[in-house]
């Protein structure tokens, strides 16, 4: 049999870096540990470089268990970017909170590898293992700040629900396997070519349970309950990581497996998906209004955005897929950036996440203020920022797919979202004072991360063409 390692390159790259970091952690003295961050970043940069090099290639390996195409590569870029921002923004944070660097970075890297595997998997088993690698790493990352009882509680909740969801997901895989006689996506879709009459009934149940698993991972109502609690409890950079990378991975895989490979089943889950989308948007935005913690608000907002992404998913077709990918690209920097800003407020042992902590920030720390304003506006969907462009494409695909009603509900929801996003700006610019002795003793790296995110937000907003082309190529590479 052929052993073609090329398709695995990006994943392996990240994985390897993770291992190296883990090993070096054992030999480094405490004052040397900062090197680990840079090693991890180096690994990520290499990975993204490889992804760029491989762009456009279409290459299967390991008996068709993985299939590396532009789709996977584009998602890889998103994951890599997200984890890079996470690492940059956590350097100071983990120092402050006495978190083990080695484990932290390597876990982030392993999670990233898991995500990559999820999206390049061409076999349900590989996908499942990738998913588990990611999930377990993130469970641990959530609870990694052991001194915080909130963190441990968050970890517990996340783990419990995650495991529960895994059970359903796995059940789904089992049923699909039983119906089609294979776990290989290629063969499965091959099986689905024959008319639905021939299908054993439980393939629907299988697809359904699979969908439940995905819905859980992306935090769609009513499977969203873990999101606010976990995001709030987890270390802020990790929350950012989750809300960007994990969600992106879940959506990407969902897109690929359910919406594309199992698309023949589509007819049957268009309706529940619509309901899911509506619920997710509305509840997410509604609950975000009454939050007192910015971090938790961001958690709810990420639920709401999952709702918008679901619209793209429902719309399907080329426009839908394209807009989904673009939205993921647009969503990543603004959310990561927002969480990074929240991180930048945190002090030793005391996370400052309340709205009150933002009071007067805009004028005391113009850079942070401006960046946060950008992120908030972008999340709220103001042009010419990434968030708006993303929404525009999503709604556009919805209208084109005949889901104008969804689009309308979507815009009404973004109106709702304006309420709480602007509240942050109200705090930063229109409320006086703020907390005394806030030292902002953050490493410059954090600011670099925020700066990058802000730049990306503006760039994707004003000149989205390039990114659009990528997402188009990526989506088409699925066929």
């Amino acid at each position: 049999m052929d052993v073609n390692l090329i398709p695995l390159l990006p994943a392996a790259q990240v994985l390897l870096t993770g291992l190296i970091v883990m090993l070096l952690d054992l030999f480094f003295k405490d004052h040397e540990k900062w090197l680990l961050a840079w090693i991890s970043l180096l690994g990520l940069v290499l990975c993204s470089g490889e992804a760029i090099v491989l762009w456009g290639s279409m290459d299967g390996a390991f008996g068709g268990t993985v299939l590396l195409d532009s789709y996977g590569l584009l998602c890889t870029q998103i994951f890599v970017g997200a984890s890079a921002v996470t690492i940059l923004s956590s350097i100071q944070y983990i120092k402050d909170n006495r978190i083990h660097e080695g484990e932290f970075y390597s876990l982030v890297l392993f999670a990233t590898a898991g995500m990559i595997l999820m999206v390049i998997a061409n076999d349900l088993i590989v996908f499942f293992l990738g998913l588990e690698t990611m999930s377990i790493s993130v469970y641990v990352l959530t609870g990694i700040w052991r001194d915080s009882s909130r963190a441990s509680e968050a970890a517990m909740k996340y783990f419990l629900m995650g495991a529960f969801a895994t059970g359903f997901l796995l059940y789904g895989i089992a049923l699909i396997y039983g119906a089609t006689g294979s776990t290989n996506l290629g063969q499965i879709s091959g099986f689905l070519v024959q008319p639905p009459g021939e299908w054993p009934l439980y393939i629907f149940a299988g697809g359904l349970l699979l969908m439940v698993g995905f819905a859980f991972k992306v935090g769609a109502v009513p499977f969203h309950f873990w999101v606010p609690d976990v995001y709030e409890g987890a270390p802020t950079p990790v929350s950012g990581f989750m809300s960007v990378a994990v969600k992106a991975a879940a959506f990407a895989a969902w897109m690929r497996i359910l919406m594309h490979e199992l698309s023949p089943l589509d007819i049957d889950w268009a309706v529940p998906l619509r309901i899911l989308a509506i619920l997710t948007m509305t509840l997410g935005n509604l609950l975000a209004i009454s939050q007192s913690s910015v971090k938790r608000m961001l958690a709810y907002s990420s639920i709401a955005h999952a709702g918008y992404l679901l619209i793209a998913l429902v719309s399907g077709e080329e426009w839908g897929g394209q807009s989904l990918l673009f939205y993921l690209m647009a969503y990543a920097p603004m959310t990561a950036g927002a969480f990074a800003v929240v991180t930048s407020l945190s002090e030793k042992e005391s996370p400052r996440e309340e709205y009150g902590h933002f009071a007067g920030l805009g004028f005391r720390r113009p850079f942070l203020g401006m960046a946060m304003t950008l992120f908030m506006l972008s999340l709220a969907g103001f042009p010419p920022l990434a968030g708006f462009t993303g929404k525009f494409y999503v709604f556009r695909s919805a209208v084109y797919a005949g889901h104008t009603d969804l689009a309308v509900i979507g815009v009404l929801n973004s109106l709702l979202s304006v309420i709480y996003y602007l509240r942050v700006m109200v705090m930063m610019y229109m409320e006086e004072g703020g907390v005394e002795g806030q030292s902002f003793r953050q490493s410059p790296y954090l600011y670099v991360a925020i700066g990058l995110a802000a730049t990306a937000t503006v760039y994707l907003g004003m000149f989205p063409s390039a990114a659009l082309d990528w997402s188009q190529v990526a989506y088409l590479s699925l066929f």
Binding site: M1, L8, L15, M22, F62, G63, T65, V66, H100, E103, S106, L107, F110, A113, L117, D123, I125, V126, L129, G130, E132, T133, I136, S137, Y139, V140, G143, I144, R146, A155, L175, P200, L201, Y202, F204, A205
Partner: protein, 164 residues
């Protein structure tokens, strides 16, 4: 009622009972033991389904390793022995699960009755065959699994080890 069916129903009954014990037994240790029993029974099912190797693994990994770990933790934490029973909540949960089963079963009942092809192939499920597909088609998952376990270990260490 053929002997196989008889056997099946006996085993199935035992399995259900033991898993019920796992869930409704208020003493943690007892539930653990009940779980071990359940795992054993499932292993036996594996044997009857021409998956001897998996069955063996089931016993070794689960009943062996994992359950020991469980018991160890139980001893380590020794929580309050008996946990109070909350009628309403328990009823609710059971009801929900029952509904789940009810919803699943009609979806699971197959249209065309399938014969058991594995029955006539002798070597099916033998260690060789498992190993063969494991190290040819599924070598990648195999590697990933190792990573997964590695992650788990790191995680366990990070989370559970005492303060430095």
């Amino acid at each position: 009622m053929t002997p196989e069916q008889l056997l099946f129903f006996i085993l199935a009954g035992l399995l259900v009972i033991s898993s019920l014990l796992v869930v409704f037994q208020r003493n943690v240790v007892y539930s653990a033991i009940a779980l071990v029993a359940a795992l054993f029974l499932i292993a036996i099912f594996f044997f009857t389904l021409h998956a001897p190797m998996v069955g063996v693994l089931q016993i070794l990994v689960y009943a062996g390793a994992i359950m020991v770990l469980f018991l160890f933790v139980i001893m380590f934490l020794n929580p309050a022995a008996l946990e109070p029973r909350h009628g309403f909540w328990w009823g609710l949960g059971s009801m929900a699960a029952l509904l789940l089963a009810l919803a699943l079963i009609p979806l699971l009942t197959n249209r065309q009755a399938m014969t058991n092809p594995a029955a006539n192939k002798e070597s099916f499920g033998s260690p060789e065959q498992l190993a063969k597909s494991l190290f040819t088609d599924f070598v990648l998952p195999f590697e990933i699994a190792s990573v997964l376990l590695l992650v788990a270990i790191i995680g366990a260490v990070v989370l559970a080890k005492r303060e430095r």
